[in-house]
C-alpha cells in the first residue's frame, strides 16, 4: 500500500515557497512519498485570513528581505531577490493547472522552471511577453501560453484551487499537509522530517 502524497501549496512569487520547492522532492523521495503540488495565490489566502504580505510594512520588510536570502543560503539554494517583488502570479499558476490536467510531472517541471527563472534570473512572471518567452523556452508552442491564461476555464480552475486551499486551512505559503497534519513555512522542514521518519510527535 502506498503512502499518501505530501500536499505542497506554493505561490510563484513566494521566496520561501521557491526555497522549499528545491528540497521538497528529495525529502519526499527519501521517505518513499510523492508530492502533490498546488499553485495558489497568496493574495487570496491573505485576504481570507486577513493577513498581509511580510513585506507590506517597512519594519518587517527590511528583515524579510534579509531573511529570504539568508534562508536560501542556509538551504544551499541560489536566490537573488528579483525586481519587481512581489508580483501577481495568476498567469503562471493558470499554466500550471493546465499542464497538471495533462501530466502532473510536466506541471511540476513548469513550476520549478518558473520559480527558478524568477528567483535566480529575475524573469518577471507578471510581464506577459516575459512569461510567454519563458513558456516557449520550456517547450510550449508560440501563442499557447497566452491562450491558456486568457481562457475562462483555467481562470475558474485557479479560483477553485484557491478556494479549496483556503477551505483546507491554508493561509500562507509554502504550506504542507502530511497525513492530515499541517506544516506552514520553509522553516518547518525539520519537523516534517521528524514526522516522515517517526510519525506523529
Amino acid at each position: 500500500m502506498g503512502r499518501a502524497p505530501i500536499e505542497f501549496y506554493f505561490d510563484f512569487s513566494s521566496p520561501y515557497s521557491y526555497i522549499a520547492s528545491e528540497w521538497i522532492g528529495a525529502l519526499a523521495a527519501r521517505h518513499a512519498r510523492t508530492v502533490r503540488w498546488h499553485a495558489i495565490l497568496l493574495g487570496a489566502t491573505f485576504q481570507a485570513a486577513e493577513l498581509k504580505s511580510p513585506v507590506s510594512h517597512p519594519i518587517k520588510r527590511e528583515y524579510s528581505l534579509l531573511d529570504f536570502e539568508r534562508s536560501a543560503r542556509f538551504a544551499g539554494v541560489p536566490l537573488t531577490m528579483p525586481q519587481p517583488f512581489p508580483i501577481a502570479t495568476q498567469n503562471a499558476a493558470r499554466l500550471f493547472w493546465w499542464l497538471n490536467a495533462q501530466n502532473e510531472s510536466r506541471a511540476i517541471a513548469w513550476a520549478r522552471h518558473a520559480l527558478r527563472a524568477y528567483f535566480t534570473r529575475g524573469v518577471n512572471l507578471n510581464d506577459p511577453s516575459a512569461l510567454a518567452g519563458l513558456a516557449q523556452e520550456f517547450g510550449l508552442l508560440q501563442g499557447e501560453a497566452e491562450a491558456v491564461w486568457n481562457d475562462p476555464v483555467w481562470k475558474a480552475r485557479l479560483k477553485q484551487e484557491n478556494e479549496q486551499a483556503i477551505a483546507a486551512g491554508v493561509f500562507g505559503a509554502p504550506f504542507f499537509v502530511i497525513d492530515g497534519e499541517p506544516f506552514w513555512g520553509n522553516d518547518r522542514r525539520a519537523q516534517m522530517e521528524r514526522w516522515l521518519e517517526k510519525g506523529p510527535f
Copy 2:
C-alpha cells in the same frame, strides 16, 4: 576580549518566546556568549509594524495553537497552552526591568520562572493576585511586586524598552540580534547556531 552578548527580546505571553527561553542560555554558553534578555510587549511591536497576533483570525489561530504545542514537543520543552491566552503582560515585564536594574541574573531567573508558570501551570500573569502570589513564590516580599508594577518609574522604563526595541527593528518575539544580525522566531535556532559556529553566511 569577550564576544558580544546575544540580544533576546521576548514577551511573557508568547509561546515561541517561552520555547526559545528554554534553549537560548545553553546555546549561548556553548559558544562562549552571554544573553541579554529584553522583556517587551508584543502589542506595542505589532502596533508599530501594523501586525496582528497569529491567533487573531480563526484560520491562522487553529494552526498556531497546534504548532505552539508541536514546536514545544519538537524542542523537548513542556508546554500546555494556558487559558486565557494571550494575556496582557505589562506587570510581569515591569517586574523584570525592576529586577534587572538590581541584578541581571535575578531578572532572567524571574523571566524563566514566570514563563514556565504561565506555560506549564497556567498561572495567569495578568491576574494581579496570581502574579503577586507568583512573585512571593519567587522570593519577593509581600506587597513588593504590586508596588513595582504600579510605580510610574517602571511603567516608563517598560515603555522606553518597547520603543528601543521597535527602533532596533523588532516586530515580533522571540527576536534575537547576534553581532548586529537579526533573527526572528524560535524557528531561526538552526541559523543562529550556524552563525555562532562559523560567523556570517
